[in-house]
């Protein structure tokens, strides 16, 4: 009985390791899930971010199914990212308490689902109602106010503070504890610090200036690139833990 269970465990371990030996596919898939919404928006409207609420529906008409499929793909991308990184925390935890970083990862998963799946879906619904209203309508203005509030939570709070700070802290921890290459470690620290200070730099730049726009696109690119980078770090570290 014991021999059988040991064999089963060995096979499972080998399968997991086999998945970890070719991690690039999953990294690329997760990275694509992070940017597919931007690519889709660019292909239909010419801008990587969602257009104004009054125009979203007119752009999305006829593409609804693709849009929902993209949101579903984003959702699975977030789940895969969390799964890959959390494996490292589970392997490394011997205490009866969870580490701060593993709870942070759970919360990051939740806020990413809220920001990248639920709020875009809400925006689609708002936009649908908008298409039936006139500009001077009272309901139009109420919907506009609500839409702006949700949009604010998505962009200014989650994408500017909560998600980058959480990513930076997790990356800092993974690099500090598990990274053996000095260059990679320093690069991770640099990216983490950059993500931590970026919102404050943006707050200090003049509003609606070209500099703010350039900084915003630069910060957004780093934020999106942080996901595959963190996955790469975690997979390397997990492989070492398995072998150890």
């Amino acid at each position: 009985m014991n021999t059988t269970s040991t064999k089963v465990n060995d096979v499972m371990k080998k399968n997991k390791l086999a998945a970890l030996n070719s991690p690039w596919i999953i990294i690329v898939l997760v990275f694509l899930s992070r940017i597919c919404h931007n690519i889709f928006m660019f292909s239909i409207s010419g801008d990587i971010f969602s257009p104004h609420i009054s125009k979203v529906f007119s752009y999305l008409v006829g593409y609804e199914l693709i849009y929902f499929a993209i949101l579903l793909y984003v959702f699975f991308g977030i789940c895969s990212f969390t799964g890959v990184v959390s494996r490292l925390f589970v392997l490394n935890n011997t205490s009866d308490r969870r580490s701060f970083l593993s709870v942070l990862l759970t919360s990051l998963c939740f806020i990413l689902i809220l920001s990248d799946v639920l709020i875009p879906f809400l925006i689609y619904q708002f936009s649908f109602f908008f298409s039936n209203l006139l500009g001077g309508d009272e309901l139009y203005r109420i919907l506009l106010a609500n839409y702006k509030a949700f949009y604010y939570v998505q962009t200014e709070v989650i994408e500017e503070y909560l998600a980058p700070f959480s990513l930076a802290l997790i990356c800092f921890y993974v690099a500090k504890e598990f990274c053996e290459s000095l260059v990679l470690k320093r690069f991770s620290f640099f990216l983490s610090v950059l993500l931590l200070v970026f919102p404050f730099i943006l707050a200090l730049t003049p509003e609606d200036s070209t500099l703010e726009l350039v900084l915003m696109y630069f910060g957004y690119s780093i934020y999106q690139l942080m996901f595959p980078f963190l996955m790469y770090l975690s997979i390397q570290a997990t492989k070492k833990n398995y072998h150890a």
Binding site: N93, R97, A149, E156
Partner: protein
């Protein structure tokens, strides 16, 4: 445990409790009220300090995560604690930020009293519903499940006091006392969860 580590752990615990209540303290200083108040008051009192408000809520988010990371028995109750944490983030971080932003930005921008009242009412409903649903129903039920085996009488008392607050709950913001009682019982519930799961006892931390 070395002395330094002990003080570090207790210091972080106290700091995270302080950071959790920081937005309320800011409310108290600027608005003379523990909770966020009417939309028009916000605009007058907060003014250009909305950025500081945001940062206080971001700090509360991380404090909440730190406090939940101290809970023991996570393998068995991991998912219940996660649901608890997510509910509390919705009630204590996401909804207040929505409400705050609405008050700080829309009062000066949207003309017309009717739209103002509609928005205020809408956010009041969202705030009340999430408070009632999460703070007085979902979170107490989860905590009751977790704590019943170890402290039967205490958990029954706290759980039924939560149910009692639902009976007295008022959606009218003018009646302040039911909201205060609901808030106090909610806080008591969370403190019970922390007490029963070893947050106040000294143990080695992983961070």
């Amino acid at each position: 445990m070395p002395k330094l580590a002990f003080f570090r752990e207790k210091g972080l615990l106290i700091l995270s409790f302080l950071l959790f209540f920081l937005p309320n303290v800011t409310n108290l200083l600027l608005l003379k009220s523990w909770f966020p108040i009417g939309i028009n008051h916000f605009q007058v009192m907060v003014g250009d300090l909305a950025g500081i408000y945001e940062v206080t809520y971001v700090l509360r988010f991380f404090a909440l995560i730190y406090l939940f990371s101290l809970l023991k028995n996570w393998k068995k109750w991991k998912y219940l604690f996660d649901v608890c944490l997510v509910s509390l983030i919705i009630v204590f971080v996401i909804t207040p930020i929505l409400y705050l932003w609405l008050s700080a930005n829309f009062t000066g921008q949207i003309k017309g009293y009717e739209i103002f009242r509609s928005l205020n009412l809408l956010y009041m409903i969202i705030s009340n519903t999430t408070s009632l649903l999460f703070l007085n129903i979902l979170v107490p039920c989860l905590i009751f499940l977790n704590s019943f085996k170890r402290k039967k009488v205490l958990s029954i008392v706290v759980f039924f006091s939560s149910l009692a607050t639902i009976h007295f709950y008022s959606f009218n913001i003018e009646r302040f006392s039911p909201h205060l009682i609901s808030y106090l019982v909610g806080t008591l519930n969370v403190l019970l969860l922390f007490y029963l799961n070893g947050v106040f006892s000294t143990n080695k931390l992983e961070c």
